[in-house]
Symmetry: C2
Subunit: 521 residues, 2 copies
């Protein structure tokens, strides 16, 4: 039985506490905190750990969890000149390409600079297509520029560019009213989960392993995460049996939705066309809204593998059988990944397929309470889906820069898989796509006992020792979900070649010392 499906005896304590999130340790911490908040009757209603929303307290978000906090402490110590066995941290915990030296693509930044400061359209030496593109976006704001709120769902021109992109990608049109620009993909995912979840029985199927945005948000909104297993032995393949099993094991929940991450985070797997057809048919049968997290759609590296958009496959199935018109699909995309890697711009979009006008209006109303996503981030979405065309002045440089980024990612995906598989006690499936390896650690029994003593999962222990001894920042597998008695970590392929090579040397040395330290008797 996977660790995450262990029964939770006190599910009634709070709205929103999904079984896997609350740990006895947390409860003890709450009590301690209460003491520190001061004695007396006032404590009851102050904003303390005990009186704040318990779903928030129970929620875990490993990508920026304990290991990252430890890394921040180490960074401070390095900054203060403390002598450590390494001179710098290697942040492999998060898909943040520009933080590990990936250079921004010039065209995007030049257009953005012109939008920020329109006098550059006249004054600067930027290429003509940069200037005309900037002018196009500024006109599309009705002349308001990037300092004004836009429509709640974003600038119409950018939505049109997204629709055109989807048409080119899939061969099928997208409706403008189905598209909403969001603050990165994360905010779109959250907005949808919040709308899907009404009470603690409302459940969302998420992969095991998954990206913790899903488990964290489902917990915060008071729903239940139901995990379906990806099969590590077959490169994290998704099988209908595992979807069926997840439903059978949770017969009393109100299953609302299934989240699918393709290419997979953290698994690195790229779904086959037949996998997607299977998931769509399953979702039709179970009446589930499909949340298709497709932010890594440009990140496919393995020869013979190809990204298939859920939207495309759905329309193909609808053309063969009208029953699939009833399927509801929300697809997410982002400026943070792909080759653009512009995480800091917080650009994203979602396409909602198969929803009534009234539901779309409700979603727009919810979006309106945030007014709009940042305007320049919206423009980055437009640029991402509408890069310079062959023959335009910026094309050559754009192609050179983006090809170099893609080739680098592909090279390092291979380098990392190979490097990890050469280390005793670590094994990685091939990285087919996305930006991560999710290797398995053969965990010595003594390390497991040590972890139990410390009250933390054994892969937390491993990752904490790793960052302390080498400066390499990874995320423990327990933050993503994994089969019981297996241990993993997620590591990005993003550091530049020399840094990645050095990192593999450090990782090998660390793992050898770890195995020596926890050698079973």
């Amino acid at each position: 039985m996977p660790w995450h499906s262990s029964p939770n005896a006190d599910a009634a304590v709070t709205r929103g506490k999904s079984g896997d999130e609350l740990h006895p340790k947390t409860l003890n911490k709450n009590a301690e905190d209460e003491e520190k908040n001061g004695p007396g009757p006032r404590v009851g209603n102050r904003f303390s750990i005990a009186t704040m929303n318990q779903a928030s307290v129970a929620m875990k978000y490993a990508v920026r969890g304990e290991v990252v906090q430890k890394a921040a402490e180490i960074k401070d110590r390095l900054a203060k000149g403390e002598q450590l066995p390494f001179e710098y941290l290697v942040p492999c915990n998060i898909g943040n390409p520009h933080a590990v030296k990936q250079q921004p693509i010039s065209f995007y930044r030049q257009v953005a600079a012109c939008c920020m400061c329109p006098s550059l359209i006249e004054d600067s030496s930027f290429p003509a297509d940069v200037k005309s593109r900037a002018k196009e976006y500024l006109d599309a704001t009705g002349g308001n520029g990037v300092g004004a709120y836009t429509d709640s769902n974003g600038i119409a021109l950018v939505k049109q560019q997204v629709a055109d992109f989807i048409m080119r990608r899939d061969g099928f049109p997208a409706k403008l009213e189905d598209i909403a620009l969001t603050t990165g993909a994360s905010e779109g995912v959250k907005r949808c989960l919040a709308a899907l979840i009404s009470d603690s029985n409302d459940s969302v199927m998420i992969p095991c392993p998954q990206y913790p945005l899903y488990s964290a948000s489902i917990t915060m909104y008071g729903g239940k995460s139901v995990y379906y297993d990806l099969d590590e032995a077959s490169s994290w393949k998704i099988a209908r049996e595992s979807l069926e099993k997840a439903c059978e094991e949770n017969p009393t929940v109100n299953m609302r939705s299934i989240a699918v991450i393709n290419p997979g985070n953290p698994s690195g797997a790229v779904l086959e066309l037949s996998d997607i057809e299977m998931i769509i048919d399953f979702s039709f049968e179970k009446k589930l809204v499909i949340l298709a997290d497709e932010v890594y759609q440009e990140n496919v590296y393995l020869e013979g593998k190809k990204f298939h958009a859920f939207k495309k496959v759905l329309v193909q199935m609808q053309q063969k059988d009208a029953k699939y018109n009833q399927v509801q699909l929300i697809s997410f995309h982002s400026t943070s990944k792909g080759l653009i890697g512009e995480c800091g711009q917080r650009g994203g979009y979602m396409e909602m397929v198969g929803f009534s006008q009234r539901v779309l209006a409700q979603m727009t109303k919810v979006a309106a309470t945030s007014l709009s996503s940042n305007t320049i981030g919206q423009i980055f979405v437009g640029m991402m889906v509408t890069p310079p065309k062959e023959g335009e002045p910026s094309y050559e440089l754009f192609k050179k820069e983006s090809d170099a980024i893609f080739e680098g990612l592909k090279r390092r995906a291979i380098m990392l898989t190979k490097g990890i598989n050469a280390i005793t006690g670590l094994s990685s499936q091939p990285i087919e796509g996305a930006m991560y390896a999710f290797p398995q650690i053969t965990m010595p029994k003594r390390a497991q006992s040590e972890a139990i003593l410390k009250g933390i999962p054994a892969d937390n222990l491993w990752c904490l020792e790793l960052v302390e001894k080498t400066g390499i920042v990874c995320v423990p597998g327990s933050g993503f979900g994994q089969q019981d008695e297996t241990f993993h970590f997620r590591i990005t392929i993003l550091p530049p070649d020399d840094m990645l090579e050095g990192m593999l040397v450090r990782l090998k040395a660390f793992q050898e010392s770890f195995l020596a330290q926890y050698k079973d008797d």
Copy 2:
């Protein structure tokens, strides 16, 4: 009895439905929508109005509500060349200065352009302080630039600049760990409300009239809004009696927090020092977290009026009496208002005063699920609180531009008050600060009957007719809360002088025709 405190018979239907938000009309609409979603058993679990989170459905957000939708339709008709009695819309529904011709301040945009495209630091003819400031911010990202996620609570340098600003403003220091950069102020407010509300008995005191972000978010998070009345006759003054009364009338709720908007939105009132002392003492006594919405802190126009920060007043009170150390205060600020008016950048910060390290850590964890607010928006926060200093190359232009914006706002605050008070049946309190008038409409009985027939509040009817006949977009008072049998609308002071003058002419003519149309027999 104010309209908002009418009892709600079916409060048990959903989590999160606060009494004032659900309208019989909504329920009918749900049923209709169900029909349209198609027949058969599948309807039960599809994502429809009936199966989505009912708190979201019940939530209302007037600032982008029915009147704004009508305005969007009219805009389309104008774009298609349809002949209407006016040639353009006057968007007075929202504090979005750049949408009504306020020009961005050059320094801010030049620095932002350099951060976007660092080659401009070498290449452009921007002033030296622009270039050095851009370099400072880029260095503060650890060299990652604006394309990388930052720390969850934002760039340390910007937080330091915020702390320095608070010190200069109040004469008291701010702690770095108490400051978090947010996606505009809205996202900060939402994050805090979500943490404060655990169940439908958790309540937040909000002013009547209020900015609907508060009522909308409280409804979405499943809590209850308890309104306290501002006294229109005395320029929307806040009296302790009205706070006490709101508590007395709601004896069984779990009162968690009080939101105060100063300068007031939509009221335009600026609180006196003694008002703030009273609110702090009241909050101490009732153990309420103070949410101080201070986004209009630079927007004070009336002679003799002065902005006092809640933080400053709290520390002064703590110095006299240590019991106030127990008060918990969260203050919000934003790049969207003030003189900078950069709504589209979605920059904001909050300062959390009086919270334990553990609570701050929980709030950081929640922030981390959004990774970070957009980097350039964070830099706008830094610039807003650290404008060019006297003697620096950009200072003269900066001062000229920002003075012109301030003088324009002040001039139009007076012009609008005067203009409205010269129209029969409309009356406005003086606009002391912020960006709005909230005039009262003496509503003819026949218009009230007509509105009842149409199933909408009478001020909705008035605003809908206004936009149809004149193109002026305002927000009905019912979206903010108002005393029973009073009617208001919110209108911004933002359009440039000539547009505002023309708008007042149209408004006068409209009101005369409205009064003629609905003349009581």
